[in-house]
């Protein structure tokens, strides 16, 4: 065990740091402020610059434009980006979650067509999973895709909480293709062009004042033959791959998102009275412990991945810890700095108002704790009333109960 960089990692870190020092002047400021379109263009250009330098998708195989490096190289990049105070990539969802899903389950044509433009932010992607009545219970989705005789598909339904949909070129969408199968069995994953006829995107303005999420409507949208990712009716397994990368991104990658104990400590220490206040110190100590434990749990996870192991449901614990720790930090900073912490110009205003949304991203705490309880600790499972029942009957049953 060695918590320091290996000579090779140290050399890589020096290289990344030097590049960032040279190029930081090209980096845009904080995300999405002011002119939205201009900001997106600036972030696109920044991702392209990083990609050209070989710092995007470093863990992707070289044949798909990546660097074929280990996840610890990604950690080095995240740390150096955080240290330089520049934003990360625009399409973290695509590069971190959806690209790896395509690499794992997509056809050769799909990999050929989509991965390179994704890496360079020429085409940004969005994740079309959650629906108004299916978030934590993702397998309950109702968006419906029907196969036509020519092999194309017709898609109808609604998705919600879709980050980046407003400027995405493509979405990875989970739809029901066989309602007569059990709810986990009749699902298929699709690539959906966001400019297709029948796609409507409406922004959802958040408490931060920014419309980062969207709701997306699909009205009889035609999908080309071959749009499915992985097997028809095999979409649940594909979705699990994406969710695993999502939890990993939020948990292990939380330092890259700025949820670092030292950053919070600096803010608190700027108030000399708060810095010596026993209650503030105790609260900070508690959350810093969680965030530091998360850092090393994340590294341990990455070590396992670099050895070719696939992270299990315990990755969900990292996600819960990251979000709760950062929320506790935001609360503490708001208490220390007072209402000024919520000033739109403050670096904390965005963090504080963004975090509640992250509570549900990648699975809510309740769902993740259930999974950890059942699959890590081996506790008795929750009773599942929907087991073995075709999805269509499940819906009919629910309607019956609502009616009575």
């Amino acid at each position: 065990m060695d918590l320091n960089d290996t000579p090779e990692q140290a050399a890589y870190r020096a290289e990344v740091r030097a590049w960032l020092e040279q190029n930081a002047s090209h980096a845009p400021a904080t995300r999405g402020r002011g002119d939205e379109e201009g900001a997106v263009a600036a972030h696109r250009a920044w991702q392209r610059k990083l990609a050209e330098a070989g710092y995007v998708g470093v863990t992707w195989p070289a044949e798909h434009g990546g660097q074929g490096k280990g996840p610890l190289h990604q950690v080095v990049i995240n740390q150096e980006i955080a240290r330089a105070g520049v934003p990360g990539i625009l399409d973290a969802i695509g590069v971190g979650m959806l690209g790896p899903t395509l690499i794992a389950h997509g056809s050769d044509e799909q990999k050929q067509r989509y991965l390179a433009p994704m890496l360079h932010a020429d085409e940004v992607w969005c994740q079309l999973f959650s629906e108004p009545a299916a978030g934590s219970d993702l397998a309950g989705i109702q968006s419906r895709a029907r196969k036509e005789d020519d092999g194309s598909w017709r898609l109808s339904g609604q998705k919600v909480w879709t980050t980046n949909a407003q400027f995405a070129a493509y979405g990875l969408l989970l739809a029901r293709t066989d309602p007569e199968a059990h709810k986990h069995k009749g699902l298929t994953m699709f690539v959906v062009p966001m400019d297709a006829e029948g796609v409507t995107i409406r922004p959802l303005r958040q408490i931060s004042g920014e419309p980062e999420f969207n709701e997306v409507f699909f009205d009889d949208v035609r999908l080309e033959p071959g749009s499915e990712v992985g097997a028809v009716n095999g979409g649940w397994g594909v979705a699990l791959t994406t969710l695993m990368f999502e939890r990993l991104t939020i948990g292990a990658g939380s330092e890259g998102m700025g949820y670092r104990a030292d950053r919070f400590a600096a803010a608190i220490a700027s108030d000399p009275v708060a810095a010596k206040d026993p209650e503030v110190r105790a609260r900070f100590g508690e959350l810093a412990t969680e965030l530091l434990a998360l850092r090393f749990t994340g590294y341990r996870l990455l070590t396992a991945i670099s050895r070719g192991q696939i992270p299990g449901p315990e990755a969900g614990m990292g996600k819960i810890t990251a979000v709760n720790g950062a929320i506790a930090a935001g609360d503490l900073i708001a208490d220390v700095l007072g209402p000024e912490a919520l000033d739109p110009e403050s670096e904390w205003s965005y963090l504080i108002s963004f975090l509640p949304g992250l509570k549900s991203a990648g699975g809510t705490e309740e769902i993740l704790r259930n999974t950890v309880g059942e699959r890590v600790l081996g506790l008795p499972p929750e009773p599942r009333l929907d087991k073995g029942i075709p999805f269509s009957e499940l819906r009919a049953k629910e309607r019956q109960e609502v009616a009575s």
Binding site: L3, Y299, R300
Partner: protein, 254 residues
């Protein structure tokens, strides 16, 4: 960065698991609740070489680090083994750093003598004073006062309560203060002015605690730096954490 254990560390952990596995530690811990006697695991620690774990090789030790010590502590916790390393290991780390490189150190490395760490908590930016555990109450006590004499000798006055593994130790490594700050003094447990009283009513029957009183106790000043003494404090805490981790992991696995 490499977060795997090295092959040597895996071996160390397995050896510890084997060694503890030869003693009925869990049953003994249960019996100790009813007043039973705990098995003496010091010979186990000596044979395994843990007594010199943190001492450098030139002083008869294994020259290993905190993570290695934590692996042994985690295995001890896993089976509720009462082995007095929590007192011995931080004490030997201070001795090693503090320039006491004599026959005593060799005997401590070999397990012929046992040391206990009489800890003081480092001061911080709110209160610079180094403090010790008081017998009762929330308020911590002052660290023992050290008066330096000639030839590296000193007398120590003060009391420190709830000291792990103090009872039966041959050598006490006391962290006290003089006018210049924290200072470590090594005191023979049997010498005049040293009283070690076994604490009663201890919640954890596998963790012997003692109350140490020093009245003009004579000892030798160590050259350990303030940083060395801080490290010893945090080392003791990581060992307790590792021990607890082992116990909890075992609970989850059973």
């Amino acid at each position: 960065m490499n977060f795997d254990l090295s092959d040597e560390q895996v071996l160390l952990r397995e050896a510890a698991r084997d060694a503890f596995g030869r003693v009925r530690t869990v049953e003994a811990a249960r019996e100790a609740l009813e007043g039973g006697t705990l098995p003496d695991l010091w010979p186990t620690a000596t044979t395994a070489g843990w007594t010199g774990l943190l001492l450098s090789e030139e002083h008869g030790g294994a020259g290993l680090g905190a993570i290695d010590a934590m692996l042994v502590a985690a295995e001890a916790g896993r089976v509720l083994a009462s082995v007095p390393l929590l007192g011995h290991l931080p004490a030997t780390a201070i001795l090693d750093a503090g320039g006491l490189h004599d026959e005593t150190l060799r005997k401590l490395a070999a397990g012929e003598l046992r040391a206990a760490y009489v800890p003081a908590r480092p001061g911080d930016d709110v209160d610079a004073a180094w403090t010790v555990e008081a017998r009762s109450g929330k308020r911590r006590g002052p660290a023992p006062e050290v008066a330096r004499g000639d030839d590296g000798l000193a007398t120590v006055n003060g009391s420190v309560s709830w000291v792990p593994d103090a009872v039966g130790a041959d050598v006490l490594v006391v962290v006290g203060v003089d006018a210049d700050g924290p200072v470590a003094v090594v005191v023979e447990a049997g010498s005049a002015g040293v009283r070690v009283e076994a604490a009663t009513g201890v919640y954890d029957s596998t963790r012997p605690l003692g109350h140490v009183t020093l009245e003009n106790a004579g000892g030798r000043v160590l050259a350990a730096s303030e940083e060395d003494l801080r490290r010893a404090w945090f080392l003791a805490h990581t060992l307790i954490a590792a021990e607890s981790l082992g116990a909890v992991e075992e609970c989850l696995e059973r």
